[in-house]
Symmetry: C2
Subunit: 147 residues, 2 copies
């Protein structure tokens, strides 16, 4: 089964049909072949593509950045060196995100663990346990957004 119409792709990927058209306009979803009627016919792999876009978004990439990730794999005419350089840059971004998330995770775990689970919040040691950790311990002041 290698020809889905918009409705099926949308359903399988868990997005709205309009979203598919939107992604197509934005250059994230390649224009699929059409049948004579004008109906789009998507290949199977489109499902994975859409899901990838969604996941990347959930971890903080804008659609523009997602497109950059995707074009790493298909942009012809770019030298391999260049693609490699950009991929390595992206890996750095991703590692930074992971590091930040781990700090948030630690703070939240501490919070959930310290709390005894009874009594009003004002008595709960949660407040103090969170402070300090939640601010991500400063550390990296300044050199963000050097993308």
């Amino acid at each position: 089964m290698d020809n889905m119409k918009t409705g099926e792709l949308a359903r399988r990927a868990g997005v709205n049909v309009e979203t598919l058209r939107f992604y197509e306009r934005k250059g994230l979803l390649p224009e699929p072949p059409r049948r004579e009627s004008g109906y789009r016919e998507y290949p199977e792999e489109s499902v994975r593509l859409i899901r990838f876009i969604k996941r990347a978004q959930e971890v903080g990439f804008s659609l523009g950045e997602v497109r950059e990730l995707l074009t790493l794999r298909v942009e012809p005419g770019t030298s391999c060196t260049e693609v490699r350089r950009r991929a390595e840059q992206k890996v750095e971004d991703v590692r930074q995100k992971i590091a930040d998330l781990k700090k948030i995770e630690r703070a939240l775990t501490k919070l959930a663990g310290t709390c005894t689970g009874r009594g009003p919040v004002s008595d709960c040691p949660i407040l103090e346990s969170l402070d300090g950790e939640l601010a991500l311990s400063e550390g990296s002041t300044g050199r963000r957004k050097a993308t």
Copy 2:
């Protein structure tokens, strides 16, 4: 030095002055005391708070979600049990994000590593190496967004 005005806080936290007012309106930044003139006077910790908001955003939390994270620590009148439950839920969200990022990281690393660094993209094994991994190996079909 425990009384910053908007300008200094903005500068130190790396955001626009307008953004501070915006966060205040949205309930992310607590209203600071004012001097008689009406000027805001922020405590030192506001810098960390703003930076936390920014980092949380970068890893995919909306301002609404960031507020939820923050109110975990200050909302009085909520039972500790409830706060704990919500914190545990957030930890789950965070772990999912980390897992997704790690998949993206693996795909990108593989990509950067496989590529020899010379020649046009069409000859580069990058394209194939990326496929399969980039789709985040499906796996978790369906039960997302059950927040």
